[in-house]
Amino acid sequence: MSTQPDDVLLEVKGLRTHFTTDTGEVRAVNGADLTLRRGRTLCVVGESGCGKSVTARSILQLVERPGRVVGGQVLLHRRGPGGAAETVDLAALGPRDRRIRQVRGRDIAMVFQEPMASLSLVHRVGNQIGEAIRVHNRVSRAEARRRSVELLGRVGIPAPERIVDAYPFQLSGGMRQRVMIAMALSCEPELLIADEPTTALDVTTQAQILDLLADLQDSRGMAMLFITHDMGVVAEIADDVAVMYLGSVVEQGAVDGVFHAPRHPYTRALLESVPRMGAPRRERLPAIRGSVPDPAHQPSGCVFRDRCDHAMPGRCDTTVPPPVSLADGRRVRCLLYGGDAPAGHADPADPAHQFRPDPAGASARRADEEAADAD
């Protein structure tokens, strides 16, 4: 990837975020790579604790002590003043830097998991949205208020003229999340990061919020980084998907490709452990063998090798798999696809044939299930 295609908005390269704790250095994000393209939705999935939220926060330098971004790049390709393209490395800015503050909310906005806790309960809705507008735009209070009402209407809040003067504790969870979304959209960001925005909501509200986000993203041509546990949600809204395991992205690619032909053994295991609609009730879901290692004491080499059915002794425990680019923009971190010296027999053009252990029927079955799930 020497030349950047025009539609790349944000590139996360080798991002590392550590927490210094009494028991040692926790490498919560340990060399994560992501590519976000304009107007597209990237879903980040992975088990609890694998570093999805910390990655998202690291992008905006919002990691709290004792955590800090210790390495890697977060390249934002934006249209600078006058329309000329410019690239900023957000990872190189300090958390209190003026330049990162100008990115927050304006180029990249964020919606959090807990709408209950992410709004101040003692400030009026209009005050909190208006403030977000006025940080980045020179407008009067009256104008900010007018825009707030308009935004509230746009995110589907009934009687926005009334709600603008309400306090968040007077609203339901779904309404609060709509308020959060209105706030995030207030400066028309190019990228919206949504960290499990529907987890705290009931099922019906979840579906509404999801529809709203998909709608807004579509109509504004905004890119979205969407963190979720829910493969159903991924199937519904994602263009691309990134699978995280223990602080790094083990596989990223277009959603159809990843779902129908997962390359990384962890992605395969993860997809197999997802319950399927229409599957016999009593059938046991295959769980992934072993458990996630403690991020403070990571194994050498590939972090997944202890739980991997295809681990290759002598290779996987010595070499940290680098990202390997395959056809159709897929990127995998697994030595099955090469990456250790000598690159040898790996054939990036068609690596699937190397994946012998995969029973022939499995991909076909997975494809069927995927189709069923998407309904």
Binding site: L60, F112, S120
Partner: protein, 335 residues
């Protein structure tokens, strides 16, 4: 909100009545009365007291009447004429004796409160935001010292230092040269210049408590998601902190309005004695010891009423400060 205020004002009436009753009865509780104490004192000095004289005195002070009559006469006088009765010991109307002292006590309370706020706010915020910094540890250490040192000790140290090193005998609120003058600018400035030491001494412990509470509350609040969400909007750090978590953490400051007066009256007696301040504490103590009942009762009644006003003010301010309280209370009121 107005309904809330009216409701709270109405509630004050029975409470005040109860306070007056308790104030009056508490003074009657110890055996004997002022006269008995007075006679005992006279006989101890070797003076003989004749029975006729005792009866005359009892008659004059109304001490031979039943308790409820005494109470009704006292409270009636207050309500109808603002007459708080006579002080036995001083042979003067109680009203002449108490207002100056209560005024001074309230002034001291207000000054102490404001000064603790002004000191505690920046230190508390700094300690929380820069947790584990040298400044935080220093503030914590000094805070514990302030908490652990009894304030009469501070007063003694202050008196000693000012005598030893400045050759002045510290004490008193009004300097001798202004003792008899009317209130004018000079006298006000004089009082202010004499007030700072007692204010600091009396406020030391309270300030330390406020710093601890603000720091602990703010540390809790700083970890909450709404702070990160505010940062994610692109606000400058100081604005994030002052607008959101500090706002949530600072309610204890408002609560001080409610408890500063009673703590001060109870706590400053020793300091006032050491620094010879003419506040309520020393005179109230004296009146209780000699069973000078109208004097003691009136003190307690007025201080009780002022405390009620303080509590009301702090509750109303809290409701104004935190809309959640306001809404809960107005809902309750309309229900």
């Amino acid at each position: 909100m107005r309904a809330l205020v009216i409701r709270r004002l109405l509630y004050m009436v029975p409470t005040l009545f109860a306070i007056s009753l308790v104030a009056f009865l508490v003074i009657q509780l110890p055996p004997g009365n002022y006269l008995a104490t007075y006679i005992a004192e006279l006989s101890a000095r070797g003076a003989s007291v004749e029975r006729a004289q005792i009866l005359a005195l009892e008659e004059r002070y109304g001490l031979n009447e039943p308790l409820h009559v005494q109470y009704l006469r006292w409270i009636g006088g207050i309500l109808l004429n603002g007459d708080f009765g006579m002080s036995f010991a001083y042979q003067r109307p109680v009203a002449d004796l108490i207002w100056d002292r209560i005024g001074l006590t309230v002034a001291l309370a207000l000054a102490t409160m404001l000064v603790s706020w002004v000191i505690a706010f920046p230190i508390g915020v700094y300690s929380a935001v820069r947790q584990h910094s040298v400044g935080d540890y220093a503030a914590t250490f000094v805070g514990f010292l302030g908490l652990a040192t009894p304030n009469f000790m501070l007063a003694l140290v202050f008196v000693w230092v000012s005598y030893r090193f400045f050759g002045e005998s510290a004490g008193g609120i009004v300097s001798p040269e202004f003792a008899d003058s009317a209130w004018n600018l000079g006298r006000v400035l004089d009082v202010v210049s004499n007030l700072w030491a007692p204010v600091l001494i009396i406020g030391a412990a309270g300030t330390a408590v406020l710093i601890r509470v603000l720091r602990a509350n703010l540390l809790d609040e700083l970890r909450k998601p709404y702070v990160t969400a505010a940062r994610a909007k692109g606000l400058p750090e100081w604005r994030v902190i002052l607008k959101y978590p500090v706002r949530m953490a600072i309610s204890p400051f408002i609560s001080t309005i409610g408890w500063i007066l009673p703590t001060l009256v109870g706590g400053e007696v020793m300091v006032s004695i050491v620094l010879s301040l003419d506040t309520t504490g020393p005179l109230l103590l004296e009146a209780l010891q000699s069973q000078d009942m109208y004097l003691a009762g009136s003190f307690i009644l007025v201080l009780g009423a002022l405390t009620l006003v303080g509590t009301l003010l702090s509750d109303l301010l809290l409701a104004w400060w935190d809309p959640r309280i306001r809404h809960a209370q107005t809902e309750e009121a309309s229900a």
